[in-house]
């Protein structure tokens, strides 16, 4: 009960923040009612998806300080679970999505147990490796379409299919992912002040001190890693129904993993609003780059160059991202 209450309790934020967040929330709710281009709609959906990815990453990567560069493997597990079950057995999204979460979390426990014996850079590198291994496995696994991937053919279904999440109009997808977005914010808001949330911040501060306070550091990290995984897997399942065409490279590739981590780090790792701010900056940038340069953007690697520059700027100037700058300015004003 207390947990549920604290999810809705934003009282420790300044009034200004709550007002701005409220205005943005209302804007997000009514956005589809305004006239908008298909491009704007697609960008908004991407923004919401990446916000939720980032929120998940933020639990372990931000509050826990464990830089995880392998989140894409769980996008893949979610996406493939939903796609395979829908295509082969016509099982709707609302069943396959929770199942995908269970599978992803199970996998996260299996690899999390050994991975969290590593620290710092070694941990980050190992997460990349596990994600790439899974991608390679899926690229040769015929059952899931190997490198060709899977395609959900919409012709078989009647629009709009709320059970299977097969829609013709993007507006339906928009509201589904917006729902996940709000649930995600509430969850993280409760999480950051829960016992586990406090324990993780203490772990980030000083692991020895944390364990002297009765915290099982290894287990707390594994648990949080599984929570982060659940977030990412839900959006992965959504991705399958929304994009309808999934390939190992798109859903499990390294650039997706890096993008997820980058969202949260740019916006502000370890803060509630950070991943949302990060996605709000990066996703339009990514979309416009793509629109502007066409397929060439990916080929030329310009997007990757820009991400690299951003990573360097964050680590050199302000490790706590955009939100860190906001807080610094504020503290200076108050003093």
């Amino acid at each position: 009960m207390e947990t549920l209450k604290s999810a809705f309790d934003f009282s420790d934020f300044p009034r200004l923040d709550i007002s701005i967040a409220g205005i943005i929330a209302i804007f997000l709710l009514v956005f589809p009612l305004f006239s908008h281009s298909a491009f704007a709609m697609a960008t908004m959906i991407q923004f919401l998806m990446f916000s939720v990815y980032g929120m998940g990453w933020n639990t372990i990567g931000g509050y826990g300080g464990q830089v995880d560069l392998g989140k894409a493997q769980y996008v893949g597990i979610g996406a493939y679970t939903t796609a395979v079950l829908l295509i082969r057995w016509n099982i709707p999204f609302w069943f396959s999505m929770p199942l995908g979460v269970c599978l992803a979390m199970a996998w996260s426990f299996i690899i999390g147990y050994p991975l969290f014996r590593l620290k710092g850079h070694y941990f980050a590198i190992a997460t990349i490796a596990t994600s790439l291994v899974l991608m390679d496995l899926f690229s040769v696994w015929e059952f899931v379409g190997a490198a060709r991937g899977l395609e959900i053919s919409p012709i078989k279904y009647h629009y709009p299919d709320f059970w299977r999440l097969i829609f013709k109009k993007d507006i339906y997808y928009y509201y589904v992912i917006l729902g996940f977005f709000f649930v995600g914010i509430l969850y993280v808001n409760g999480f950051r002040r829960s016992r586990l949330g406090f324990q993780l911040r203490s772990i980030r501060d000083n692991e020895e001190m944390a364990s002297s306070l009765g915290i099982n550091v290894h287990w707390a990290k594994i648990k949080t890693y599984a929570i982060a995984t659940a977030f990412v897997s839900v959006v992965g399942s959504f991705h399958a129904c929304y994009i309808k065409n999934i390939e190992p490279q798109d859903t499990m590739g390294l650039d997706l993993s890096i993008l997820i981590a980058l969202m949260a780090m740019l916006g502000g790792a370890g803060s509630l609003w950070g991943p949302i701010i990060g996605a709000a900056v990066l996703i339009p940038l990514k979309s416009y780059l793509k629109a502007w340069l066409g397929g060439a953007a990916g080929l030329a690697g310009i997007d990757l160059v820009i991400y690299a520059v951003i990573i360097m700027l964050i680590s050199a100037l302000e490790p706590r991202g955009i939100w860190g700058i906001v807080e610094k300015v504020r503290r200076r004003r108050w003093q």
């Binding site: 207390e2 406090f198 203490s202 980030r204 501060d205 001190m209 002297s212 306070l213 915290i215 099982n216």
Partner: protein
């Protein structure tokens, strides 16, 4: 029955024995000071008792149970809290949040943890600074915060590792008041590693002296301070001359 019983504890790092065949016990509510030259194995002893290091041989019995093989977080959950000599605060947690992490060991509820933390801050005279980030505080206050945090976990035995090192006399007075509160008022047993003799001699019920990993003396502060071996190994003749009135 003693609260803590250490039997023939030995800890070796390769060929170096940092603790050699150390045995002692700590009674419920007792305050035991540990002194000795640098490298005598004082902090290693704490690390072995609290489960940060596996012991090479010997036994640690706490509250009647053998805790020798337990990990740090498990000994903490049985009521053995500690502070660290070097406190690396990156400054991400405020004072009250820090103490709450300690309190969360005993409860899942945030409101209970917060209430408990506020009470401890009150007892430690730290009330005004609850919302300040720990990293922004002077070292002396940081050390008191770590004591408060350790206390939050509700220990029966508290291991304090050089909480007064490098502090001014005034700050030492404040720390001493906190230690007395923990010991006399709350009745928690304390083991105290310290180089500040004024502090150790004043607050300890008993003092134990380590030298080259061995226990060379154990007894009431006055007796230990007169022990020729202790004077030779650690205190020095001058200390005894200058502190006649204290002893």
């Amino acid at each position: 029955m003693a609260l803590l019983e250490v039997l023939n504890l030995t800890k070796t790092f390769g060929g170096l024995s940092a603790n050699q065949d150390i045995s002692f016990s700590v009674q419920e509510g007792e305050l035991v000071g540990i002194i000795g030259p640098n490298g005598a194995g004082k902090t290693t002893l704490f690390n072995c008792i609290s489960g940060f290091y596996p012991v090479s041989s010997g036994k640690v019995i706490f509250n009647g149970k053998n805790i020798t093989a337990l990990k740090a977080h498990e000994t903490a959950r049985r009521g053995l809290a500690r502070t660290f000599q070097i406190y690396a605060a990156s400054g991400d947690l405020t004072v009250i949040e820090n103490v709450m992490v300690g309190c969360f060991m005993r409860t899942r509820s945030r409101s209970k943890a917060q209430a408990a933390a506020e009470e401890i801050l009150n007892e430690f005279n730290l009330t005004g600074i609850g919302d300040v980030f720990v990293g922004e505080l002077p070292v002396a206050v940081q050390k008191r915060v770590t004591m408060a945090t350790a206390l939050g976990s509700g220990p029966r035995l508290l291991l304090l590792d050089e909480v007064a090192a490098g502090l001014t006399p005034n700050e030492i007075e404040e720390i001493m008041a906190n230690i007395r509160h923990i010991h006399s008022h709350l009745g928690i047993a304390v083991m105290l590693i310290e180089h500040v003799m004024e502090l150790v001699m004043k607050v300890s019920d008993r003092v134990m002296v380590l030298d080259y990993g061995r226990k060379i003396a154990d007894g009431p502060p006055r007796t230990v301070a007169k022990d020729p071996e202790v004077i030779k190994a650690y205190l020095g003749e001058r200390f005894v001359r200058e502190h006649q009135e204290m002893l």
